[in-house]
């Protein structure tokens, strides 16, 4: 795999993960448990979709086959999507929504922090901007994990349940493949070992404060999102998200 191929692939992973999690959060618009939470969720979603657009625009320039950012987001099918499996998991209860956000935010924060130092200037610029936003996301989601975990008996039970259910999708965040390694060696992407160590460190610190038990180190992990092998949920997300662009391809007026 060449560096150029790896970079295109990696940009799509960043864009798709932002896009799918943003879309998931938007499903809660009008349904969040409290008004403040609704505003927060939509703000986070907005940041993620905005970041996705920046990554897609860069990816579209490198792929250079006449597809623009919209086309990459709205006209690719599930097997072409490269998002992390964690981001496509359903909202379920609020503990799962915030647990998913927390595991993602820790990964996102350390990934962006490293990318902000990337030798690829364009990438570093987008990441430096996104990092400021991701920092706020992480502060908020870690507070929720602590509040629910170290809260009432019921909230603790639900938060532990969320950790147990979502844990199987976290291995993918910190298990590198060829794409990750090629970019890391070229100084473009994060060092996989450092990323894994940082992720484990912060997750362990917050879950411990939240009186929650981490999943097992040797737990079975579902992987494949980065290569287009998804859980059954992604198809449904795309069916809804891409409906308009599929029904009226290339429409110029909405």
């Amino acid at each position: 795999m060449t560096q150029a191929e790896a970079l295109k692939e990696y940009l799509l992973r960043l864009a798709d993960s932002d896009m799918i999690l943003g879309q998931r959060l938007c499903e809660l618009c009008g349904k969040a448990p409290a008004l403040e939470e609704e505003m927060a969720l939509m703000n986070v979603a907005l940041d993620l979709v905005g970041q996705a657009r920046n990554w897609y625009e860069y990816a579209a320039e490198l792929i250079d086959d006449d597809r623009d950012a919209d086309r990459l987001a709205f006209r690719r099918d599930a097997h072409d999507y490269r998002n992390l499996l964690l981001t496509e998991q359903p909202n379920e209860d609020y503990a799962i929504t915030m647990g998913r956000q927390f595991f993602f935010d820790v990964w996102h924060y350390f990934t962006l922090k490293s990318l902000a130092e990337s030798s690829d200037e364009r990438m570093a610029g987008i990441a430096a901007k996104a990092l400021k936003e991701a920092t706020y996301h992480l502060r908020r989601s870690s507070e929720w994990v602590k509040r629910l975990g170290d809260g009432t008996e019921e909230s603790h039970r639900r938060m532990q349940n969320a950790v147990d259910i979502l844990w199987r999708f976290t291995g993918e965040l910190i298990t590198p493949d060829d794409t990750d390694r090629v970019l890391a060696e070229a100084g473009l992407g994060p060092d996989p070992d450092q990323l894994a160590e940082d992720w484990r460190g912060m997750v362990s610190e917050v879950l411990t404060q939240a009186t929650l038990t981490l999943g097992a180190d040797d737990a079975w992990m579902y992987m494949g999102g980065k290569h287009g092998e998804h859980t059954e949920h992604l198809g449904f997300i795309l069916a809804e998200m891409q409906f308009l662009q599929r029904a009226y391809p290339d429409a110029t007026t909405w």
């Binding site: 403040e36 939470e37 505003m39 927060a40 703000n43 986070v44 907005l46 940041d47 993620l48 979709v49 905005g50 970041q51 657009r53 920046n54 924060y109 200037e121 570093a124 610029g125 987008i126 430096a128 901007k129 996104a130 400021k132 936003e133 920092t135 706020y136 992480l138 502060r139 908020r140 870690s142 507070e143 917050v206």
Partner: protein, 189 residues
């Protein structure tokens, strides 16, 4: 005599036309870069109309060469939905001043920071009821306790954060425990 309300209607139409057409007496060739900056002082942020795009620090550069004008603008947040509207408002103001084809360059680097909001801009935010960002963005801690935010209404420092996110991406929601008023805090990034 115009009928009741007619004067207002006509002036509104005039404004609309004016924004779309270069006035006959406009002399953009006489503009200096400083004049362009002064012009941009009148372009307000649509979400926070108390401050201009210059006070907010999102206009990064003005390049003027003869009649050719380009403006560097940076978004506050990656997904800020006001970005495109702000660009249109800037173009509109420049056209009204006589520039036929002003250009906007969207720049992402360096990323916008609340440190770029001018002191005057911060005062205007406070007067508008929005607590301005506290301190420097470089000193913000990741998981630490939030700073003390003064109430923009009564000045009390006995306030509490209701939500990390407020009515727009750039604000958080606070409540004053002294005067009991809720208020927006312009987040420090």
């Amino acid at each position: 005599m115009p009928q009741h309300g007619e004067t207002d209607r006509r002036s509104a139409v005039d404004i609309l036309i004016a924004s779309d057409r270069v006035p006959a007496n406009a002399r953009p060739d006489l503009f200096t870069t400083d004049d362009v900056w002064a012009l941009l002082e009148d372009v307000k942020d649509p979400e926070v109309p108390a401050v201009s795009v210059v006070e907010l620090g999102i206009v990064r550069a003005v390049q003027l060469a003869g009649k050719e004008l380009s403006i560097d603008v940076t978004p506050t947040y990656s997904g800020c939905p006001a970005t495109e509207l702000i660009e249109e408002l800037i173009i509109e103001a420049l056209r009204a001043a006589g520039f036929r084809d002003p250009k906007i360059n969207q720049v992402l680097t360096p990323a916008w920071t609340t440190d770029w909001i001018t002191e005057e801009g911060k005062e205007k935010l406070r007067a508008f009821g929005i607590a301005p960002p506290q301190g420097s963005s470089s000193k913000m801690s990741l998981l630490g306790e939030p700073e003390v935010i003064g109430c923009p209404h009564c000045g009390s420092e006995d306030t509490e954060r209701v939500s990390e996110f407020g009515s727009t991406a750039c604000k958080a929601l606070y409540r004053c425990k002294e005067c009991l008023e809720p208020f927006d805090y312009f987040k420090c990034i």
